[in-house]
Amino acid sequence: MAYVMILFPLFMAGVALAFPSNRLRPWLLPLTAVIYSAATVFVLTQPDLMVTAKWLVLDPAGRIVLLVVSTLFLFCSFYTVGYLQYRKERSNRVFCACMLGFLGIMSVVVWSHHLGLMWVAIEATTLVTAPLIYFNRTQRSIEATWKYLMVGSVGIALALLGTFFLAYASLQTGLESNLTFEDILRDAPQLSKPWLHAAFILLLVGYGTKMGLAPMHTWKPEVYGEVPGVVGAIFAGGVTSCAFLAILRIYQICIAAGESAYISRLLLFMGLFSMVVAGLFMVNQRDFKRMLAYSSVEHMGILVLGLGIGGPALFGTLLHIVTNGLTKGVLFLSSGNIHRAYGGKTTDVVTGAMRRLPLSGTLFLAGFLAITGSPPFGPFISEFAILNGAFSMGRFITAAMFLVLLLLVFIGMGATVLKVVQGRAPASVQNTPYRDGWLTAAPVIILMGMVLCIGLYIPAPLDTLIKDAVCFLEGRP
């Protein structure tokens, strides 16, 4: 099954490269995404399909990421068709192929149970997403691509060094090691501690760069500011979730090795620091796409913070992968619509989005309320669960800082969002060609509906999925 889920999107990427018609090519994305989502649902209900080889296993943590990314990709694929209708002047060959290629490589990340293979796959996601940033061919998008590749590849290099350190941690104590996740998890208590500590720091920094944790987040505002909204959604919900999965693996190894005290300090620090940086840069942010980038930095911080708290906060953290991924989809897709309608992305030109685009404007506002943790949306539940976990672990200072930072972000982000949606739209933008259509609005509405639904009631299968993953992470049967 793993081979099907990996090779099918890659095959479709090849088809997209060879496909002659620029007008029909985008439809390959929804086609692939529908089949892929069906495969995802199928594999999630068939436990005996989840082990393909020793190094290709779909474990409970991987299942959550697979579910989020394939759902997000499904809606983004329909949106892409609508988006590319406005970009007829440009060939979308490479764009479509890279989107599909990303789906295939994401499957490798999710399935891989070998730390080396996982590293290769995450490196490949960097390579395959770089052309997506470059889609607009402007000077600023070249800058963003260069910065993304440079910062990302340093992160990837450090992650490789960390992987080598981890391998040496088992070699040094004379273990037969081959970097398969299962073996290394089993041998975790015997790993050489100093090497494991050093490996954890390198892997956290390396994969953290890919996630966009502060202070390695510098590529994020640049990239998210320049890319089309749909690519932003794929980055903020997909690429970062894959990188977080890598951090989850390392976390699990360290927990199994009995190093929870050591790693939780580092994770808490990284998480809170990311939230502080994001909060500070969000205040007075005039560019609403860059604002979303800092919001992504903040939520990566929340994920890592939840991991650092551990124990009772793990449920909230894993749920937050889902809620953050879906809400980021809403925000990036609706902001893409606003950007297109106004031809600008700063609050100097963008005001009165509610009047110019009643649907996208409302969704953008609702997405903002959801992502900042207002009830009754999904992120409220996950953030509340993390907070609850912090209190029940007795980490009162962490919990207090978490609350203050959430408030800071709410105020900073709120000021920009309200400027965008309220007021009177300038007369000049009434004539721009963009109107909310089925393809560009319906996917966002459904995503928003899902975010609301998780906030009101967590569906039983999702609940079981997350509880399984919590047990899996803590090493309970």
Partner: protein, 213 residues
């Protein structure tokens, strides 16, 4: 054998400092190419027996690190007509001092880490960490895009040196390091055929400031 290996490693450390202190990009490229040759020879010194994966590592490392990448960098230099790194963020002499400090730190840090039996008498770990740090210094203090790529190449060489510790146990994992070369290749190709040159006319990353906060 260990003596010879340590001599090679010390030479690599010297080359790092040289790369930090030269403004002529062509000279730095040559040094890094030479470093690539030495790196390619390390597997032969670490190992007593020549096996197929090791022979493969030697050949691949020398071809890519010492021939392919330096020659495309040189082509990029020729196409863009640049010779010198203009005033780096940290001057050449201070960056040599910084590099020396990084090397000292690497020696101290490596002393803290336990090693498997037969690795005790080699300088593999400190050389590797020092080279990674020097690569990092080059990467963040230089402005020319091409100098940053060379910095990345040095960083990557450091990782390659570390992988020599694993070559006995996991020969194929070591080959993963080669994947990093892919990035370097892409960067340089970017510079050559892509538009950094046309769009910014001088390949100076300081010009990449329109996105600054």
């Amino acid at each position: 054998m260990t003596n010879l290996l340590n001599t090679v490693l010390v030479t690599i450390l010297m080359m790092n400092l040289f790369a930090l202190g030269t403004s002529r990009i062509l000279a730095v490229t040559r040094i890094v190419a030479l470093q690539g040759v030495l790196l390619g020879l390390i597997p032969l010194l670490v190992h007593k027996h020549l096996t197929i994966p090791i022979a493969l590592t030697v050949v691949v490392a020398i071809v890519i690190k010492a021939i392919v990448i330096p020659s495309i960098i040189m082509r990029a230099l020729r196409d863009a007509q640049i010779k010198h790194e203009v005033k780096p963020l940290i001057g050449f002499l201070p960056s040599i001092i910084l590099g020396a400090l990084a090397t000292a730190f690497a020696l101290l840090f490596a002393g803290q880490l336990p090693l498997a039996g037969n690795h005790y008498y080699t300088l593999l770990v400190p050389t590797s960490i020092a080279t990674v740090l020097v690569g990092f210094i080059l990467l963040v203090t230089r402005y020319k895009a091409i100098s940053q790529v060379i910095g990345y190449l040095v960083l990557e060489n450091g990782i390659f040196i570390f992988s020599m510790l694993l070559i006995e146990a996991m020969p194929l994992i070591v080959e993963m390091g080669v994947m990093l070369d892919l990035f370097v290749g892409i960067f340089v190709t970017c510079i050559i055929i892509n538009h950094i040159n046309q769009a910014f006319s001088s390949m100076d990353t300081r010009r990449l400031v329109s996105l600054k906060e």
